[in-house]
């Protein structure tokens, strides 16, 4: 598999969550992932995009989320970027059950799920400037 990548940019609306994970899954399918690996990728994308919409753009309308998926040999790299509020304390935000929306029955498990389903998760954020979540997954079930 040669290097390949794609980027989509969409409005930060919850109805675009399913579009984002479907787009990432369809693109990553070029590497012939197993059913489980594909589910992991779609779930991790869904968590990152939901975080951008729910937390990144809380109280902000008209925002956009970018999703970049890069295929490199047997690895899938995913970057989800928003230009929203940013995260004050990334270490705290990554802890299980942490949420900025306790009244909305959010589980606070978003980053925990991303970390469990992907091999690497990196969060780059600055308050007022937005957040980028970079994730990497090495595929074992793909054709080379």
């Amino acid at each position: 598999m040669i290097h390949n990548d794609m980027t989509v940019r969409f409005a930060a609306l919850s109805q675009n969550e399913s579009f984002a994970r479907a787009a990432a899954g369809a693109f990553a399918s070029q590497l012939d992932p197993s059913v489980g690996e594909l589910a992991d990728i779609k779930t991790a994308v869904s968590e990152a995009v939901t975080n951008a919409i729910v937390h990144g753009y809380r109280g902000i309308s008209g925002g956009y989320v970018s999703l970049r998926v890069t295929l490199e040999k047997e690895e899938v790299l995913i970057e989800v970027t928003d230009e929203g509020r940013g995260i004050e304390n990334v270490e705290e935000a990554r802890k299980p059950f942490f949420t900025t929306a306790p009244g909305e029955e959010r589980s606070g498990m978003g980053f925990t799920v991303m970390e469990a389903f992907m091999d690497q998760v990196e969060v780059i954020s600055s308050p007022g400037k937005g957040t980028a979540v970079r994730m990497k997954k090495r595929l074992e079930g793909g054709t080379r």
Partner: protein
């Protein structure tokens, strides 16, 4: 996302069809809340065979309904989940409080 509910005595039988994420969670939550509004409802069995996707938004939906039923001395049972959905439920520790069919 479809939520089909049927009452049988103190129990509500639910079938979820589609994808449960942050976008669809509000509708699912409201439909399930309406189904258990009557305090004589104490148990819920959820057939998840038609659920094709669930992320952590679904964890909150399930835990919220569990808390309501547990406060009445009841329970919430999930059955026929796909392996990837079982995995996220197991990871979140849901099976320490939910019953499995």
């Amino acid at each position: 996302m479809q939520v089909l509910c049927r009452r049988s005595g103190e129990m509500i039988l639910v079938r979820l069809e589609g994808e449960l994420d942050h976008h669809t969670a509000q509708k699912v939550r409201q439909t399930l809340e309406d189904a258990i509004r009557d305090p004589s409802v104490r148990q819920m069995t959820m057939d998840l065979s038609g659920l094709t996707f669930m992320d952590s938004s679904g964890i909150g939906v399930l835990l919220g309904r569990y808390k309501t039923l547990a406060s009445r001395g009841g329970w919430l049972k999930v059955e026929k989940a796909r392996p990837e959905i079982e995995r996220i439920m197991r990871m979140a520790g849901l099976f320490s409080v939910l019953r499995r069919g």
